[in-house]
Symmetry: none
């Protein structure tokens, strides 16, 4: 994957065409610009991600099981990408965030990414809501809770990628699951908001 390997700016249309086995000009039959290709990529990425997540969640029963599933899925997702021939395409997620940050908030690109990120966070919300209802979780603000989990998993993916020679993904997953699950289950609510 050209953009993953080189970033949006350094990824050349010529390489993309080549990798796709088509001519350079043909690319413009399907996309109107380089940025357009990237946006399609972003959407494809998030679509695939949520599709997998949904399938996964359908299998869990209790909120705790579901949360556990999501954390485990995050690592499996990462692991599979890195193992497969598509491995090189993994860093696309960082490229997406990088572009989101750089791009003007008004651009189509920024919009597409924000849309994806929100959808990601949204996956967690109903699960957490169930947890609160079942009194498993304290009545924290659901959306903050979801953001923390989703964001933390992203950060972990990044740092694991950068230091994958030094860390074992399985053990990292266990540590993460421990901290997060325990953290969520014992967090005592927002009584300290005054600080």
């Amino acid at each position: 994957m050209v953009f993953a390997r080189n970033g949006l700016e350094r990824g050349k249309i010529a390489d993309i065409a080549n990798e796709a086995g088509i001519g350079k000009g043909t690319v413009y039959e399907y996309f109107s610009s380089k940025e357009d290709i990237f946006i399609a990529l972003v959407e494809g990425f998030f679509t695939e991600m949520f599709h997998d997540m949904d399938a996964l969640l359908a299998m869990g029963e209790t909120p705790v099981e579901k949360i556990t599933s999501l954390i485990e899925y995050s690592f499996k997702f990462l692991e599979e990408y890195l193992d497969s021939e598509e491995g090189e395409s993994w860093p696309i997620i960082m490229e997406i965030f990088s572009q989101a940050i750089r791009a003007d908030a008004s651009t189509e690109m920024h919009q597409a990414i924000i849309r994806g990120v929100r959808a990601g966070v949204a996956v967690f919300e109903p699960i957490l809501q169930d947890g609160v209802k079942a009194s498993i979780l304290k009545p924290f603000d659901i959306d903050y809770f979801a953001l923390v989990v989703f964001a933390a998993l992203d950060g972990l993916a990044l740092h694991y990628y950068l230091q994958r020679e030094r860390f074992d993904i399985k053990e990292l997953m266990i540590t993460t699951r421990e901290i997060f699950l325990n953290g969520m289950l014992t967090a005592t609510g927002r009584k300290e908001l005054q600080s």
Copy 2:
């Protein structure tokens, strides 16, 4: 900050010079290439970050206080950047990670970034070690523990930045602190490594 606003590739030397109030050629009196400027930036960024962290840690007493301090510092760091005139320069951290991922591992740039990241993780390690000694924390692998916390904070910074209109940083900090602190204190060790 030119690179923060546009990324390494789109950040023009001309703009950097302009922002510094010097001529385009003058830039090359101090740096030998565009990449060289970026590396200096990376090093400056990490240096500043750790300088602040060290000062902060000196003030805490117990491991719990210190961990709390670090979590709070992460948000303060972020908040201050975003509030100040330097606000626009905050996204540099994402740009750094983005480049780390793209750059060949052999490049000076990659090296510099990895060095910074490791130093960041290393800040947490002695604190966690103390926690284990004091039997406050279970005997998890210290380095995995540290990575999780450091990485999670990075992910949070990113996502908060992207959705800063929708979230309140103070409340986000509280939620984060709750989850992490509780999670760390109640995590029950690696008994599940078999899974």
Copy 3:
């Protein structure tokens, strides 16, 4: 011819493109760098030169006739270039030597030039060999002999070019032919090597 007029360093790609009636970028469809263009030029120059020489030599009979032909050809070559619209492109030969001297011996450019020069000298060698066999020439070292003649003709071309207002090319050719031919035919061999 841009390089002939200005030299390699001052010859701008933009001018080359312009002269060729194509866009600046199009140049890079055919050559990968400025130096690459120059190398192609060098090779074209020598190729053309030797092609003409070969045709010429086929027409002579005796060694003396052939040597005479070569000397005359050198001047004709020069004369034609200077008269034609290509006239301005003649100095390319000096540019070639100039670059040969400057360029590091390991460069492709240097190699290409040395190859050409040796080929030039080599044209003379079989002719001189025949002359020696026929006892017309004394048994001087053929390669030294060839170098002297080839080199001298190059020097003459240069100096004639610089002072072409003051000298008549026809008469210069006659003087040259006289001196060289007589010199070669009467040179008495290397008995003086002791000096």
Copy 4:
């Protein structure tokens, strides 16, 4: 010598200053521009050359002795340059010719070089004149004769330099001397001007 090593265009003022052990700005106390430095160099080069030649000629007696001396001197000059630490500065002669060819005839640079070249040819003329008077040489046009000899020696210097690994300078000198001296002494005059 910076210009010899790199050519006029690639020779940097900074290097010249450095080699001279002075500051970059100081160069402009003595010369008004880069071209100005080069012109001074040209003049110094020719001055030195003719100074040596004059000394040499004073020692010869007969025209033949003098011509022999000049030919031998040319090689000695070359040899000494190449052997000495100044060796690297030899190619300056080719750089001079190269610039002469490129420069517009109206420039000061061109003028200076042409002046030098003419002076070089002029050294030969009185000697040849003596030879004609003494009936040793046929009544060829003196200036053409002189040009041929001077130019040929230049060409030899160039080619020897380029292939100095393959040729022995002493033997090259002998071959040259043989051909030229015999050629000059036996050339039968311009009766063939009709061709």
